[in-house]
């Protein structure tokens, strides 16, 4: 009787999980986004603060310009589908980021270029199952277990704590195929922006590395704005 009941419950939780993923995607993704953000990279000796402005269109196109510090000011990154270019004003050169360079960290942060490249929707990559309920920062969360349903998901499994009311992930743990935890993401300062909940503060931590990780603070964000097509062109890197 218990087995039968369990068998009936399992598809329900999986279905719930996938529904939650869909809602998360609806909250987090948009046709286009314009974000001004601050990235604080906590190093061993000191912290670095980098501000930038990003334009994204769907999951395939992104253009970021770094505004400060002076050393990084004018550095621009363009992502078009599977390709990425970086323009450095110091050398006045545009280089394509590929191969081992994709594994390098962005501006010394806990994020690699390939982390930034892979921004497909959760529901396209994972099957989710609700495995419980826990409190995170005083909020009741669904605990989701995500398992990749595609062969090329960078992280084959994830554990995700999703705010049950606002449907925003407040914490995620990203695992390797062996089950070794690789990254931890925490989110906070959830605000309602243009009718949707969005975390304005996130911390990325490569758990294999020492350190406090990298904070990403969104200063301003707007969704579904019209962005001229020429922003996502290589010519805009040198403008």
């Amino acid at each position: 009787m218990g087995l039968v009941l369990g068998g009936l419950l399992l598809p329900l939780t999986a279905q719930d999980g996938n529904q939650i993923l869909r809602k998360i995607d609806r909250n987090m993704s948009a046709d286009s986004r314009i974000i001004e953000s601050t990235m604080i990279v906590h190093g061993k000796r000191n912290d670095r603060t980098i501000t930038s402005k990003s334009h994204t269109m769907g999951t395939g196109k992104a253009f970021t310009e770094y505004l400060s510090p002076a050393r990084e000011r004018g550095t621009k990154m363009l992502k078009l589908e599977k390709e990425m270019w970086v323009y450095s004003p110091a050398t006045d050169r545009t280089i394509m980021i590929s191969g081992h360079m994709l594994r390098q960290s962005v501006m010394g942060s806990d994020l690699s270029y390939e982390d930034m490249m892979d921004d497909r929707r959760y529901e396209d990559i994972y099957d989710a199952r609700v495995t419980g309920s826990e409190q995170v920062d005083g909020r009741t969360c669904h605990l989701l277990s995500l398992t990749a349903k595609v062969d090329d998901a960078a992280y084959p499994s994830q554990k995700m704590w999703v705010d049950s009311e606002r449907l925003i992930p407040l914490r995620a743990e990203l695992y390797a195929k062996s089950g070794q935890m690789l990254k931890q993401i925490t989110a906070g300062d959830v605000k309602q922006v243009e009718g949707r909940w969005f975390p304005m503060h996130m911390t990325y931590k490569d758990v294999l590395k020492e350190g406090k990780g990298t904070e990403w603070i969104i200063n301003t964000i707007s969704f579904n704005q019209s962005i001229p097509a020429n922003v996502f062109s290589k010519a805009s890197l040198r403008k």
Binding site: S98, G99, H100, M101, R103, Q104, S105, A148, D151, D152, A153, A154, Y155, P156, A176, K177, S178, Q180, L182, D206, L208, K209, E210, G211
Partner: protein, 390 residues
């Protein structure tokens, strides 16, 4: 014969000037023999070590692989061509699979190349036998440079992260089974060696390789199964470029030293002709042709280099021999920048190099002796007899 005997007597009679010229020329000869010997020794060693540790005698590269372009690495792997099965089974070839990975020693992240190799191979000197798994551990071997960079010792465990053929992250702890010492930085720096079967299991790339290392005896000598054949000449490109650059340096140093030495010979000759005007006139008065006198002075100058070779051999040979035993200690930094250099550089004296150095010294000694002497033939010998050569 008379001219040679006279020239010999004259330079013996010249005393201090002769000793000075011989000392300077012998110094140049010994120094250049030592320098070129060092260069030849280093080149021979680096070529040998490159074959032993990194390149083998020849290689077959996957069509997408380019050793000099790391961007090719993610796509540079494929099934080993069946045409080389016999060479593989005979132990004359061994496959190497290369992927990119990261290690996390002491909480730091380092990007590395993870190289899979057959533990039983005997072509490269990598201590691959240590890669046989024991007690559920995944063993890796690293070079001394990599051990220094990662601060790892034999027996230490370190977290390794990589991506499989689909780009999926995986990570596990590996154990350092051995640390090898090689002069070849390209087999060591930023690299970890792992058993090929372990790497196959980790990446789901069974039966694949990035390149095949082959012995001299391997029958493969051309592109095979779409893979590109690279001969020893190509694989020694780095060494050849370094050799060319070092040879150019050697020529510059030799030119400077020889110029300084020849200045002394030239100066001696010019002064000698000025001082010995009456002697020159007397030679002509006694029947020697002006050309004969020029030849006499040229032989005198050239004889300095022959004496220099003789005395250089007397004091230089024991020194150069001692040098072959002790070598020249090299700072570790040379190895760190990728040059195949051992703890010490041992010279190898090649007969051709020594003979070339000697012939160049003799030729230019003769030339700088002839240049001031040639005007003797153009002089009025009556004036010469009076000591009035201009």
């Amino acid at each position: 014969m008379l001219i040679i005997r006279t020239a010999f007597k004259n330079i013996i009679g010249a005393g201090r000037a002769t000793r000075l010229n011989i000392a300077v020329l012998s110094f140049v000869l010994v120094i250049m023999t030592a320098y070129n010997g060092m260069l030849d020794g280093w080149i021979a060693e680096s070529r040998r070590d490159t074959i032993d540790w990194d390149a083998g005698w020849s290689q077959l590269w996957h069509p997408n692989y380019d050793k000099y372009d790391i961007f090719t690495l993610p796509d540079a792997h494929g099934k080993i061509p069946i045409q080389i099965d016999n060479a593989l089974q005979a132990g004359m070839a061994t496959p190497v699979l290369v992927i990119q990975a990261s290690v996390y020693p002491q909480g730091r992240m380092l990007n590395i190349q993870l190289k899979g190799i057959d533990p039983e191979q005997q072509i490269l000197k990598i201590p691959s036998l240590s890669l046989h798994s024991a007690g559920g551990e995944t063993p890796v071997v690293i070079g001394k440079r990599m051990a220094a960079t990662t601060n790892l010792k034999k027996g230490d465990r370190v977290m390794l992260r990589w991506r499989d053929r689909n780009g999926v992250f995986d990570a596990r702890e590996v154990q350092v089974a051995a640390i090898f010492e090689t002069t070849v930085g390209s087999a060591d720096a930023g690299q970890m060696w792992i058993a090929l079967d372990d790497l196959y299991a980790m990446t789901d790339m069974q039966g694949e390789a990035t390149y095949i290392v082959m012995q001299r005896e391997s029958p493969v000598s051309a592109d095979t199964g779409g893979w590109h054949f690279k001969d020893n000449d190509f694989l020694q490109t780095d060494n050849r470029i370094l050799e060319q650059s070092s040879r150019a340096e050697s020529v510059i140093i030799f030119t400077i030293l020889l110029t300084l030495a020849l200045l002394a010979v030239y100066d001696t000759q010019t002064l000698s002709i000025f001082r010995r005007q009456k002697e020159i006139g007397t030679y002509v008065a006694l029947g020697m042709t002006p050309r004969g006198v020029t030849t006499l002075f040229t032989i005198e100058g050239t004889t300095y280099s022959l004496f220099a070779a003789f005395f250089g051999a007397i004091w230089g040979a024991p020194l150069l021999y001692w040098f072959t035993k002790t070598g020249l200690p090299m700072p570790e930094a040379y190895g760190d920048i990728g040059m195949a250099v051992g703890d010490a550089m041992y010279p190898v004296y090649k007969l051709t190099t020594v003979a070339t150095t000697l012939l160049v010294v003799i030729f230019f000694s003769a030339l700088v002796s002839y240049l001031p002497a040639r005007k003797i033939a153009q002089q009025n010998m009556v004036l010469a007899l009076k000591g009035k050569i201009n």
